[in-house]
Symmetry: C2
Subunit: 166 residues, 2 copies
C-alpha cells in the first residue's frame, strides 16, 4: 500500500473538476471588474462569501490580507492591463496575525536559522486599524489608477458575516 | 433609481452566505496542512479545481502566482505558526503575465505617472520555466522549514486540467 500525500488527494479532485469542466471560453479580463485582496486564512472562502464564480474577479491573498509591494504590483497589473476598477479588502476575526509580533517572530527565526528575515512580518494588534492601514496604502500608491471604490471589511469566521470598516 | 456598484452586489451575496452559514467552529490551522500559491486570474478557482472547502488550506495569490518576498513571508507564517507542510504552486495558460515585459510595463507607467515603479513586475515569457523558477525560489529560502512537498502545476483555462511541471 502506497501512502498518498494530501497533494495527491487534491490532484485526484482536480481530475474530477476537469472531467465536468465547461468554462473553457471565458475571457482573460475579470467580468465583474473587481479585485479582491483577502487573508490566506483557510476559513475565509472569497468565492463562497462574495458569490464569485470562474471568470468574475481577481483574487489576491496573503498572510493577513495586508498591502505590501507585491499587492501593489498585483493591483497595478489588475487595473492597468486587465480593466478592474473596484477593490475589496477582507481581513477576518481570529486571524493568526493577531497572535504574534514582528519582532518576536523574527527573533525566533533568527535563533533557529541564524538569519533574520529581511521582510516585515506584517503582524497587527488591531483588525479594524489594519484594514484602514491597508486602504491607506492603496490610496497612497501612485501606480494604481482607479481608487473610487476601495472598501475594506472584516469577515467574522464564527458567524460568516462581513462588517464594513468605515 | 440608485445605481449599485459591483461591490454592493457582492455584499448582497455575502448576506446570503451568512444567512445559511454553519461553519463557525473551524480551527485556525488548515485541516489539510497545505498552502496553495496560485495566480490571481479570475478563471482559476483553487476551491473548485482542488476540491477545497472552508478550513482546508491556506490560499496565497498574486499576479502570476510568482514567488516574491511577500509570498515567502506568507509561506513562513503558514508553516511556522499554522502547521502547513505541503506547498502547491499553480500558474495557468493564457496568463496576462505572458503578454508584456517588465521594462515595457514600467516604462508605460513612468511615462504616465512620472515615477518608475520600484518593484519588478514579474512578467515571464515561459510558463513552465516560471513554475520552475517559483519552486526554486521556495527551495532556496532559508525561512520556510518544510520543503519535502513543493510541487508546481500549470492549469489549462480551456480544458480545466492541471499539468505537473517536473
Amino acid at each position: 500500500m502506497t501512502s498518498m500525500s494530501v497533494t495527491d488527494e487534491l490532484l485526484a479532485n482536480a481530475e474530477r473538476y476537469a472531467a465536468t469542466f465547461d468554462k473553457g471560453d471565458l475571457p482573460l479580463p475579470p467580468a465583474k471588474r473587481v479585485a479582491v485582496l483577502a487573508c490566506m486564512d483557510a476559513r475565509l472562502n472569497p468565492y463562497g462569501i462574495l458569490g464569485l464564480t470562474e471568470g468574475d474577479a481577481h483574487v489576491i491573498r496573503n498572510a493577513g490580507g495586508v498591502v505590501t509591494a507585491d499587492e501593489l504590483r498585483s493591483l497595478a497589473i489588475s487595473q492597468r492591463l486587465l480593466g478592474t476598477v473596484e477593490i475589496i479588502l477582507i481581513h477576518h476575526t481570529d486571524c493568526g496575525m493577531l497572535t504574534f509580533t514582528d519582532d518576536g517572530f523574527k527573533a525566533d527565526i533568527e535563533r533557529e536559522v541564524g538569519i533574520k528575515p529581511p521582510w516585515s512580518a506584517e503582524a497587527f494588534p488591531d483588525l479594524d486599524a489594519d484594514v484602514r492601514q491597508s486602504i491607506r496604502r492603496i490610496l497612497d500608491d501612485p501606480f494604481i489608477p482607479t481608487k473610487t471604490s476601495v472598501r475594506g471589511f472584516v469577515y467574522d469566521v464564527q458567524t460568516g458575516k462581513l462588517r464594513e470598516i468605515l
